[in-house]
Amino acid sequence: MNLNKLNILILLLAFSFVECYGQFDFFESKATIGGYGEMHYNYKNNNGATKNTLDFHRFVVFVGYGFTEKWSFKSEIEIEHNYVSDGEGELSLEQAYLDYHFRDYLGFQAGIILVSAGLINENHEPTLFFGVERPNYSKYIIPTTWFGNGFAIYGNYSGFEYKLNFMEGLIGDKFSLNNAIRNGRQKGFESDASSMMYNLKIDYTNILGLKIGGSATYNNSISDSLSIPFALLEVHADYRQNGLILVGEYGNINYSNHKLLKSNGFYFDVGYDLSNLINVDWKIIPFGRYSRYNTASETENGGDEEKMYDIKEWMFGITILPIDNIVLKADYSQNKSELSSIKTEFINLGIGYRF
């Protein structure tokens, strides 16, 4: 390429990124603050052994800043279980990234970002999901909140929302039969970048009330001996129309070079907003859930090992939203391992907010 062509190329490239603003140039640099929090009462009865806890589970502050129409910064700082001391509680920076929103169909992020997997990892405020605690599927199959250092390309076009994350991988040596990949998260702490993780999500949102999509995540996870590749594939759907709410997710993880060969699970929620029937301002949503998940659905050893963590669970409860930003919750659930005849009962009460 000669010098003239190179000059033209640079000029054209610069031109393509320049916007012309006139009388509608109303953008002002501004900081925004938000947050959410939730306090829970949990009662557990395991064959007569009971436990009662009252816990301010999460306190989260969101701080953002719009430098220009395209450049912004977003962050989320979280304290879990009220204080941090001697390995109890958790203080973490769950999001902190620079965002360059070039066009609707193309944007870039760099920093501490969320993995785009499932419905709840990226939208985990208490007003947005049923049940006092997040679904167990969103703990054991998709380890919410799943975040780390990395880069992302995102956009939306014709109702398709897509995001490709290129970020820190997991520590494969910490994978376990009872927690699947959950303990392998590096959480952005001086991340070992020797094997990066690829995560692609596509959602379709052009049908009123429906969000449907899926994601694929692959990482040759880090290990002291042989690396442990894993692939997580999941699908999800959320439908909200005329008071009816249907939510469902299914996910499967395949492993190599590990005693775990497969983890999988699903849940399905049905709810109905009664404010559609009775003329009240509050949203009153009774709901039911059925879930089954197994963090060790296929193992090298097989046998009882594959039944021990195979959990069936059902739940019913109520979600009340006096205003869109405040939620009161109550639920009752039972779960049972395939290997045991003992049912564990749970009663949970919760309050939450977001702003």
Binding site: L12, S16, E19, Y21, F26, S72, K74, G159, T205, D324
Partner: protein, 176 residues
């Protein structure tokens, strides 16, 4: 290489029109055709009225002024379009609401969205819910979108504010 860049720029500048004025013109053309006259005004909202509407809807106006287009055909007014901004998670969302003489919404459009999450509020099907609504409507009944809660709540309040503002505009002056 040069040709590739030319194509990229062409797509950016022509197909994905990004300027607010250009997008508003496109929306007006798609809704009312080519043979309409369009008058533009920047309207400063009287302070007392601004406070009254903000208190009622529980949302501040983005600025002291909104942008108003009068869409006319043969000197007869077809619609009034009011453009304003509301905040999403961190960035403003620019939207425009078209209203008819009876105060009912003819259509609502997202002119510019500037964030990753919540862009589903730009979808035509979601915005269709506003058509035919007026100041008597309970805007809380607008359906939510999974993963776009902040944007949905902001826009439904933003549209409600414009419907209330429209009610106060001098109709005899506008519709003559």
């Amino acid at each position: 290489m040069l040709k590739l860049f030319l194509i990229f720029i062409l797509i950016n500048k022509v197909i994905f029109a990004n300027g607010i004025e250009q997008k508003v013109k496109e929306i007006i053309k798609n809704q009312f055709g080519n043979n309409v006259q369009v008058d533009f005004n920047k309207y400063k909202i009287p302070l007392e009225l601004k406070n009254e509407i903000e208190n009622k809807v529980k949302q501040k106006f983005f600025a002291e002024s909104v942008f108003i287009w009068l869409i006319k055909e043969n000197d007869s007014l077809l619609a009034v379009a009011i453009m304003d901004n509301v905040y999403g998670k961190a960035q403003p969302i620019t939207f425009i609401t078209f209203l008819g003489e009876n105060g009912k919404i003819l259509s609502n459009h997202i002119v510019k969205y500037r964030e990753e999450h919540g862009s589903a509020v730009s979808n035509f099907n979601w915005n269709k819910q506003f058509i035919g609504r007026d100041e008597k409507y309970d805007f809380n009944k607008i359906d939510a979108i999974s993963g776009a809660t902040i944007s949905v709540n902001s826009i439904k309040k933003g549209v409600h504010k414009l419907v209330l503002l429209y009610k106060t505009l001098d109709k005899t002056e506008l519709w003559k």
